[in-house]
Each structure stands twice: as C-alpha cells, then as structure tokens.
Symmetry: D2
Subunit: 153 residues, 4 copies
C-alpha cells in the first residue's frame, strides 16, 4: 500500500503585513516568511490540541533543521494574507510543515481570483522531535494522535 | 478653558507573543514593544476610519520622531497580550499615541487580577504629520474628525 | 562637590544598515534603533573588559526597564553609521546608556559636515542590575571598576 | 567542455550574534539566518566592486525568488560567526548565492577544530535579475565581469 502522505492536519490563519515587516523594495522582507511560517505552526498545533508552549513544558521540542521558501509575489504593508499550514510526520523523528501564503480573497480586487494568481510564497520547514536535552525521540503517542496522517492505518 | 487632552480615540487589540519575538532571557526582546505599538496604531487608525495605508496613499505620512517605553513585566512565547492605544494631537503638527500592554485577563491565573498587576509595558510614540515630500503639515480636517479630542470644541 | 556625571566609559562603533532593517518608507524601521543600541552596549562592555555574555554567566543581568529614542534623520540600506555609547550608573542599582547615532563622516558628501547635520537618532536605555533570579543588586565592584565615572572619587 | 560552476566569486565575513537575534531556546532564531545571508551577499558584492546599493541605483535589482537553509548547530549571543558566501550565475537571468556559517576558529576551544565540527548553518538564495520595473533581464556585462565563473571562458 502506498502512503500518499496527504496532510490531514491542516490549518488556515489570516495575518496582516506589519510595517516593520516591509523593506525598502515595498514588499515584505524575505526572512519574515519564516516568522509567519512559525505563526502558522503555532496555530495549527493549538487547533490540534497540542499547543507548542505546552509541548515545550512537557519536554518535547521541535528544533528546526531545514527551511525552504519560494517567493512568487509582493505583499505590502497592511495586506491581509491567508496562510495554510499542513503537518506531516516524515522518517522516524521528523515533523514537516508545508505552508502556502496567498492574498486573502476579500482583500482587494486583484485578489478575487484563483489562489494561483494570488500567490505570495510557499515553503516548508522540517523539525527534529527531541527531548529537552536535544536528544532525538520518536513522536509521542499524544502527538501522533493529535496530527493524524492519511494512509497510516 | 483647560484642555484636558483626555484621549477619546482609544482602541484595544489582542496579540500573541511570537517565538521570533522572544530572546534568550525567555521574555520578549525589548524592541518588539515598538513593533507592537505599530500594530496598535494601525488598528486604531483603521477603527477610526482612516487606515494608515490609505493615509499614505493620500500623501499624508506620520513619520516617527520620538518613542518611549517602560518595561514592567515579562511576557513569554504564546502569551496573549492586551494592548490599549490612545491617540491625541499635540502642538500644531504632531500626533501622539499612548500605549499600555498587559497580560490578557483570560490568559492565565496570575493575570486574573488588576491591570496594574498584569502590566508588561507602557509607552508612547510621537509622530510628525507630513506630506509625501516630508514637509510638516497641519492635520487635515478628515484626520481631526476621525480622531476627536475632548475639550477641543 | 557636584557630581557632573560626565560619562568616562564611552565607546564608538560603526555599523551598516542592513536591507532587513529598512522599511517601505526607505529608511530604517524605528525599532531597529533599539537593536543597534544593544550592539553599542555589547561593544562598550567588551571594551571595558566585562563582556555581557560573561556577566550573564556570572549571574549579573542588566534587564531593560526604560528606553527612549528621538529620530532626526533618515538612514538608507548600506549607509555607514557611527554610534557613540556612554555608560553611567544612576541611583543604587541602575545603569544607563546614552547613545548617539550619526552618519559616519567618510560615508558620503552630505555627511562631511558637523555631527549635528549628520544626526540620525539619539536616545538612552536604563537597566536594572539584578542577579540571575531577577532580584535587584548593587553594582558589583568589578563592574564599578570597569565603568569609571567622573566626580565619584 | 563541462562547466564545473565552481564559484570564483567568494567572500568571507565575520559577525556576532546580537541579543535581539536569540530566542528563548538560547540559540539564534531561525529567520536570522536569512538576514545574515543578506549581509554576506552585500559584502561579497561590495568586494567585487558592485555594491548592491549602487546596483539598485542603476536600476538592476536582485529580488529573492528562493531560499533554503539547513541548521546544524547552535550559536549563542555574542558568538563570533564566520560566513562564507559564493556567487554563481545559473540559467539566463538568475544569480545564486551559496552560504556556509560556522563558529569562527578563534572564538572558543570547541571551535578550534575542523569546520565540519563547527557548523551552524548552510543554505542558498536564488535571485532573479530584473530592471527597476521588475522585468527579468540578462545579467549586464559589468555584473558578469565582476563575478567571474570558472569554466566559462
């Protein structure tokens, strides 16, 4: 049986570009995408019942080991963004989040079209799953339960 | 008649501390307060019907000329903050925003007490009112109307 | 005898505006000033023989309790800045850093004039002196020795 | 003939981790790597005689279209980092920068070993080459000359 790894743990949030996140090119500075990705992970984990602040308090950390971003379009100060985050386990002790950021549909006329035309950025982050001492661990059962994956049963 | 300068234009928002905003002391890094102040101004102006992005498009800018912050307490990753912003004109071409940041009441037991006990930071920013070329201007009527001040009539 | 509180512990550094520090107005975003102030403190303390990383390791912390910035002029991406930091004890358990940021003289023709004409920002930060648990302490002798103050003998 | 694409345009800089760049895990926050990559590009281009600020003034922009980072080790506040940046043209209108960040050898005993043992992060950014209107252009001759590539002659 083929594991299709479609992500069942998916979450969508909206956020606005802060003035502090723009640069002199008039769009968001590139590294802000990684900060937004973090907001997406935080809210996905909260929605899944495992807030990351509680995970850290339980001694389960998700240190970042890889990040990738592709940039497609501009986003200006105060633009409303729609960010979709999907979580998937990969390997024995890895958690991967895939993220897409588009202009929110209601925002402006140019955004009232297909997501492809509203694209801002896309990317992923890969995280180790470790204990408080930094030692890799297998995902605890409560984390596996909280983030169900298709094709795993 | 004494102008009491109580701020009628007041607005309250909530925001969560991002992981990217913490530092190795385990609280938010000090400069983040100024970034949060900006979020407060942005939402106050939107609520008042004069979104700052539209003001800039109209050629009315609010460059920052002074900022002050006092720090009272810690705020950790994912803490929910309540920020109150008040706007007041001062002098002929100045707009001042006063800001208070406290732990949101519902957040955690220690926060279910008086605002004074939940205090995180307090401060203000003073802005020139200028045209697109940077020349100081008097506040336009639509801005004065949008941000009513007590004791002015 | 009058304590003149002229700051004998003074240090000057240069730094360049990063692209990430600009905003869509084409100058540095306001909160970056506080990040640069931190660079100035770090290098002043290193030059004085008490690197802050070592102070933290010894259990002496300098949590920020107040910050103030005045903004005078623009600074663009890649501009070379000259920042002067001065340290002074104030009260029983307070350390204050005063900072001035100007365009470096060699940078560009407009900058080859008096510092007043090259001004970018000025401000200060006030720090508690505390132990690792956050309890205020008097400045240790090694810190008083490292940061001599005029008019104190 | 095989174009080996070894990067002849290579540049090395040192930088210190700012307190503002740390997070509550005690290492640098992940997005800072992209801000440091930018410092590496800026100094490589300056060393090559084509400062990016001048390129922008000439109407040649390098908007980021892709970024990738792998994280290997921690770096704390005030750690001295050594960053090596290499530039290579790829495709018709693309410039790619490869970056490696390690602990500077002189920094501390643990760092006095092979670069592999001192590794902090590695990654790359891919940039379009565009005119001021955002239209892709072929690299101008002065840029090709400034960034020589092996195996091209």
């Amino acid at each position: 049986m083929i594991s299709k790894q479609t992500h069942l743990a998916e979450h969508r949030i909206h956020l606005r570009v802060r003035y502090s996140e723009t640069d002199q090119m008039g769009t968001f500075y590139n590294s802000r995408a990684l900060e937004w990705f973090e907001c997406g992970r935080t809210e996905l984990l909260r929605a899944a019942g495992v807030p990351y602040a509680e995970m850290e308090a339980r001694g389960v950390l998700l240190p970042l080991i890889e990040a990738h971003v592709e940039y497609f379009g501009r986003a200006r100060y105060d633009d409303l963004l729609e960010m979709t985050t999907r979580a998937a386990f990969c390997g024995k002790a890895r958690l991967r989040f895939d993220v897409e950021i588009v202009h929110a549909p209601s925002e402006q006329s140019r955004a009232d079209c297909a997501p492809a035309a509203r694209r801002i950025a896309r990317g992923y982050t890969v995280h180790a799953i470790s204990d408080a001492a930094g030692k890799p661990i297998r995902p605890p059962d409560w984390l596996l339960t909280a983030l169900p994956q298709e094709g795993r049963a």
